[in-house]
Structure formats: structure tokens, C-alpha cells
Amino acid sequence: MKERIGVYICHCGGNISDYVDVEELGRMFHKEDGVVVSKDVMFACADSNQKEMIEDIKNFNLDAIVVASCSPKLHLHTFRNVASRGGLNPNNYVQVNVREQCSWPHSDNPREATVKAAGLIRAGIKRVAHSQALDNIELTVKKSALVVGAGVSGMKAAIDLARTGNEVYLVEKDFFVGGHIVQQETLFTTGENSKEIVSKLFKEIKSYRNITLFTGATIEKVSGSLGNFHIDIKIRPRYINTKADYDLVVKALNECPVYVEDEFNLGLKKRGAIYKNYPDAMPNIPAVNLEVLQSSPEAMLQYANIIDLNQQEELLSFIVGGVLVTTGFDSYIPNSGEYGYKSSPYVLTLPEFNRLTELSSNKLVFQNREIKSVAYIYCVGSRQSKGENRYCSRSCCTSAIFSSLNIKEKYKDITSYHLYRDIRTYGKQEILYEKSSNLGDIYIKFEEKEPPVVEYNGKTNVIKVKDYLSAKMELEIEADMVVLVTGMVSRKESVQISEKFKIPIGSDRFFNEIHPKLKPVETVIKGVYIGGCCQGPKNISESVQSSLSAAAKINALLKSGTISIDPVIAVIDENVCTWCGKCEKVCDYTAIKEIDKDGKRVALVNRAICTGCGICAPVCPVNAIEIAQYTDLEIESMIDGFIQKIEMEVKEETTEVQQESESAKMKEYPQLWKDIIQNIGESKKTIPQLSEELTCKSEIVTYNLMTMNKYGIITADGMDEDEAYYYYKVKNR
């Protein structure tokens, strides 16, 4: 129990004190049990105040501190550092949010806002009184990383991780690297050849001795935790004799007479049982579909000297400090009959159509028909208000328009109809939409509730659609080919990957980051990051951006060799625990296991794995589990603090005169105010001038000038020549 607590209540300029009687609260908490110091301060985060807090901790021998100011999202770490610098454990500090959750939302009722602030601060004092001095969990971190998936995102991330000296293991399920991008011939916006990009990246990967690439490999088992993940992988054999004559291998690759379905070309053609995805696919070693090849004893005999039947599945293990998952996406496969897919001829998905156009040279021919008109139906498998995929797949509008432009250029005289719900060619991609419109592509808007109907009349596909931009006029369009613009779905292997790494999956079945804006590549599993489309639909640029950002995070993690993590984890009271296994069952991260403790079966928490989510705590029938920093005592004492009656004189509102006199009471101005005063000197300056001369963002200058103006430190003095900005001059002091 802490009994020498320091309480600091911040005016935040006037953001808090305009509505909350901060001075009265400062006086009131002087009398509170356990409180030794209670002060109202102009800016709690100012350097001068931080120094004063540190002095107070030492001079008054404080054992805990409370700062009532802004949201902990802004300054929790600032004041934890203050506590540390003063010699306290950072966990003996509590931040009370009296700005975002009190003075601002209750600015309409200053009296009630002050009463609420008192309750919030009292709860903070009670909580800190029960706070424990917890040490951060220190872990050693192996200077190596695993990247799962060698698409463009994974390859770029692996290179970045290797560049900073880490050992990198790049694991790809397929026998060849590149992922989805090599299935598209050229890429927007640069028009580059996708295969050349992948070849370039592969060459770069090979130039790093600290990258080990495994193809045909899958993750079998993951154990350990942040800093020391133990990874087991399984590598499937290629069955090509590595000592065989290369010319013979190339000959077999080109002439193999045993054919199988070509997965890379999405079933549009057959390929040999000895194969590469495409001629330049990397690594430059073909793979053998042995099961199929063995169906032909002649072929087996013919290629006996290049095939090595002794190759077996290989199991490999290694340890890594951090993991980046870039497993990408699957394309949505329409159901049979969905817009005529598989039920009418000449209906393909966009990825299939892209393969067809790459495989067709002078003429665009499919099933013996030359294609002269194409109808694209958008949002197939995306934005389903009643289906599973409610999200927009982001990249398909651009991809469809880009394909439409490409085939127009490649084959000439192609008519394109775009049946869309909304065109989402955001950013630079809008240029494509404009170009396509200028080239005469026809855009017809439909609504989800009345989707187009595709029928085959024996000669051609007829698409019936209501044009919502022409008073729902019913149109019938004849098109040689219908292309279903399909979106992205989560990889079918995502569930297995999620089970192995314990990455949470969202309702859209993609991997979940911690926070879409503030922690966009981190998962709740410490040390496991996600990048690219495995977390949701993205275009190539966005995928690479996210994977590189994750690589930077991993670099930072691996750099020091050790990591210190917050001690917010589940804590078991072994005296109370009677081991029923409910906590183990409910934990998604396998952080809890049963152990023998002096002859008693109890639960043990793996400190490195536990995420501190607290799911295990309410399921314990004997209440043996608490989450550090969220103990029963802390939470229940906060509730008591909120509800305790407040005995205080609350002024109705603060007056302007009082506000002006605030400046005189300030012990010291914030540094930026001093800089502004010095910069203005005897002259007068505008906000842009101050912003430039002080190299400070204009909004920060504006905000501070407004507060300084309110306190009568500066005043406006006419406008500049363009009458765009006010001049400000120093008023007094």
C-alpha cells in the first residue's frame, strides 16, 4: 500500500482549467489519505514541471505519483519516465484522463465536470495506492528473422532485414518465388514486367549470404516466444537430380510428354509433369510432379538420369527472434452459376482472363472464338452486404481497367463494357479510369440488389442489366467474353498459419493487426508481425509498404539483442489455484499449462507468451487469476473512488480576469513560449513566419499563440499585406 503519493493536476493551458476547477482540486487532495503533495500545474508535461516532480519525489520521499491530465495515449510514457528518473518504479504511476474524458466532453457543465474530475482523480489515487512495483520482463532476442511467404512483400522485407545484418529465413510454400504478381504480365503504374521485378528481387536475395531461401517448404511447428521462436519447417523434394546434365533437364522441361493441369495458368492449359511456372521462374530448378510422372513408365525410364527418387521430405529447425508473415491472398472463386461462371462458356474471372491475355499473342482467342467484345462485371465476391465478404478488395477496379486498356493496346478493336457498382480507382489510379473513359470504354452502373444476369443464347453471352444512371433502363449487352472482376479472400492456409503462430483472425478471415492506424503491422503475439495482403486487400505498393514497415519493426526488435516488455500478464495465486484447466482451455495463445508445485497441481503462465488480455481471469472458478496492473484491488478501489461523495466548493465558472492572471502565476513559461517571445522580440510576426523561423509546425505555433494570447502574453497587431495572417507582438513580461 502506497502512503506517500504525489498528485499533479494539469491546467493544460486552459484545456482542462477552463472547465474544471483545477486549483480547488489541488487544494482538496492535500487532505486525502496517503497524499503528501498535491499541486495544480500549468503544463504537467513541460520540462520545468517534470524536473519539479522529480525533485518532489526525492524531497518528499514519494512512493507513487498520479498525474491528472490528458489521455494516457499521449503522455503515459512521459510520466512513467519521470517516475523512473525520480527513482520510482514506473508502474507506481497512474495517469488520470481529465481532458478527453472530462473537461472536453463536459465543457457544457463546468460544475459537474469538476465533480467528475474529483472522482476520477480519487480513483487514480486509490489505484496507485494498490499499485505494485513490477519489473519489466527482460528477454534475450536471437538476431534472426523468419519471413513466411516469398511474394513481392516477403522478398522485399527479407532483403531489408538481411541488409541490417540479421540472419533471415525466407520460407515459400510454392517451388518458385513471386506469389501472385507474376500471374499478371505488366503492372500499373510503371508498366513494368512483373517477372522482371521478381527476377531482380531473386538475384538480390541470392547476393545476401545471410538469407536462406526455402521453396516447397511449409511451417510445421512453432514453439517458443518473442526473441526465441523455435521453427520447424518441412521441405518437399523437387526430385530433380542436382548433379544431372543441365541441358538434359532443360530438354525434359520442354518436352515432357506427361501432362497435368497447369495451376499457375489457372487451368487454361496443361503443363508437363516436369515443370516451372513460367520459363524464367526462380529458383531455376524445375520441379517434378512425381505421382503423375510415375503413371507413365516410359517417361520414368526416359528421364531416369535426371530424376532422383531418393529425395525425401526434409525437416529442418531453426530459432528466430522475430517473425514476419506475408502469406498473401487467394483470389475469390465464384460459385458455379454465379454470373454464369462455369455454367456458361466464355465466362472467366479477371485473374484467368489476365493469364489468357498473356498466353495469347496476336489474337485474343478462347475456345476457338476470337474475342472482340468484353463485359467486365465488378465487385464479384466483394462488398456482399449479405455474403461473407463485406469488404471492398481495393485493387480490383484498377486491375480490371488496367487489363481493359492493355488488351485494347495489344489486340486493337476490342469493345469493353464495365458493369460496376462504384469505381474505386483512388489516388494515381484515377488516371487509368480517365484514360479508359476517353478511349470509349462504356461504363454502366448497377446496384447489388439488381445484379446483371448472364445468359448464353447458344451463340454468345447476353448480359441483362439495369443502368442506374439512365433511370434503370434495361439493357441487353452481347459480349464475346464475360470477365468477373473478383476480389481477394484470405488464403485457405490462413487458419493453419494462425493456429501455428496464434495470430488472431478477423471477421473477414484475414489476419488482425493490433490497431489499424496506431499499430498496423503488429499482432498481439509479441514478435509476430504481418505485412501485405494476408492482413487484408491491398495493391502491390501498399503491400510492400506494410511489409517494409513490419521489417523495420523487426529490425528494431532484433537490434539490441534484448527486449524489455510490459509486465501486464496473468498472475496465478498458487495458494488458491486448484487446477481445473479452464484457464488453459480458454487461452488462445497456449500461455498457460499445468505444473506440479510442491506436490500440488497448479497453473503456470509463460511470461513471454502471455498477452495480458485477461480472458483467463473471469473463467477461474476460485478467482486465482489476476492481471498485473488490473488486480481486483486496483479495479474495485477505482470504483470506490468514483463513487465516494465529494465535499467541495465548486465555482460556477472561471473568469477571464482569472485566466489572464494565470500567466503571472506561472513559475516558468514552456520552452516554445520563450522561443516565440524571443523570436518576436520588439517586432511583430505572423504564424507562418514563426513556424518557419522556429522550424515548428504551424498548427503547434497557432495553438500556443492562442493560449499565450488568452493569458495576455501576446496580442494581435494588424494583418500582413495580403490580409491573410495576423501579426502578433509581445504584450508584456
Binding site: 489521455s71 494516457p72 495515449k73 484522463n97 481532458r99 478527453e100 474524458q101 472530462c102 473537461s103 472536453w104 466532453p105 463536459h106 465543457s107 457544457d108 457543465n109 459537474e112 465536470a113 465533480v115 467528475k116 472522482g119 476520477l120 480513483a123 488472431p504 483472425i505 478477423g506 471477421s507 488482425n512 493487426e513 493490433i514 490497431h515 489499424p516 492506424k517 496506431l518 499499430k519 499482432t523 498481439v524 501486464v568 480458454v586 488462445d588 498477452t611 495480458g612 488480455c613 485477461g614 480472458i615 481471469a617 473471469p618 478467482n623 492481471i627 488490473y630 481486483d632 479495479i635 474495485e636 477505482m638 470504483i639 470506490d640 468514483f642 463513487i643
Partner: protein
Amino acid sequence: MSNENFKPKILVFSTDKISDPGIDQAGLRKLHYSPAVYVISLPCSSGIKPKWILHAFKRGFDGVFIAADGHECSFSPKCEEHTNRIIEESQELMKASNISPKRIRMAAICSVCAEPFANHMDNFTKILIGLGDISLENNQVQNS
């Protein structure tokens, strides 16, 4: 119940990463809601103990609102399921203490759900005014 000055006290359990930023944003945008709303932020709504909820009612809170992460929970895809179970268990405890189960509510509040949060607080305040002061609902509930 007929007291015109009755301002129901609401305890909100929010989550550090998702709903608390949403509640902060309501403040940032100066959206007004009842000043008798107090927030405790936790890592995840699945970690709320029913005994805390009962403690809040016994100490005099008129309502408990769980600002959950819903589908956005970064810890568990089963977060809603867990939180629902906690509410059901809490309601059992509440019934045993003669507290109306209507005094507990849950909604998913995302990190930008400023207006939905303020609206939920307004609506819940009205509901609780209808239910009346908890200290009058049942004498047994008063400070135990």
C-alpha cells in the same frame, strides 16, 4: 424514481486499444454526454470479472456499460462470445441481488466511434432514469 435531479451513474469498461480511443475522440470533438459517466480501461472486455460489475452496483453505480471491441478485438476472435458469457454470469449475480439485468449493456465501440459512444451514453442514461436510482431499487443493494 420521480426525482428530477436523478443523474444515473454509469461505469464504462473500455479497452485500451480500440474503444478507449473512441471515447477519447468523443471528448476531443466536444460531444457532450452525462458527466456521471466514469470509464475504466482494460486490455480486453473478455477480462472483466463479474464480481467487479456487482461491486460497482453495490457501491451505487446505476448502470454498467461495456464498450467492447466486437469483431475488431486484436486478442481473440471469440471476444464477443467471452464478453457475452461474462454479461450472462453478471446478470445471474445481479438477479440474486435483486438488481435489474437491464442495468448492464454492451455495444461494440471502435476507435473512431465518438458519436455512437455519446449516443449510447444518452440512451443508457434515459433507460436508467426509467429504472430509477439503484439505491432505491432494493435496500439490499445498498452498501454491503
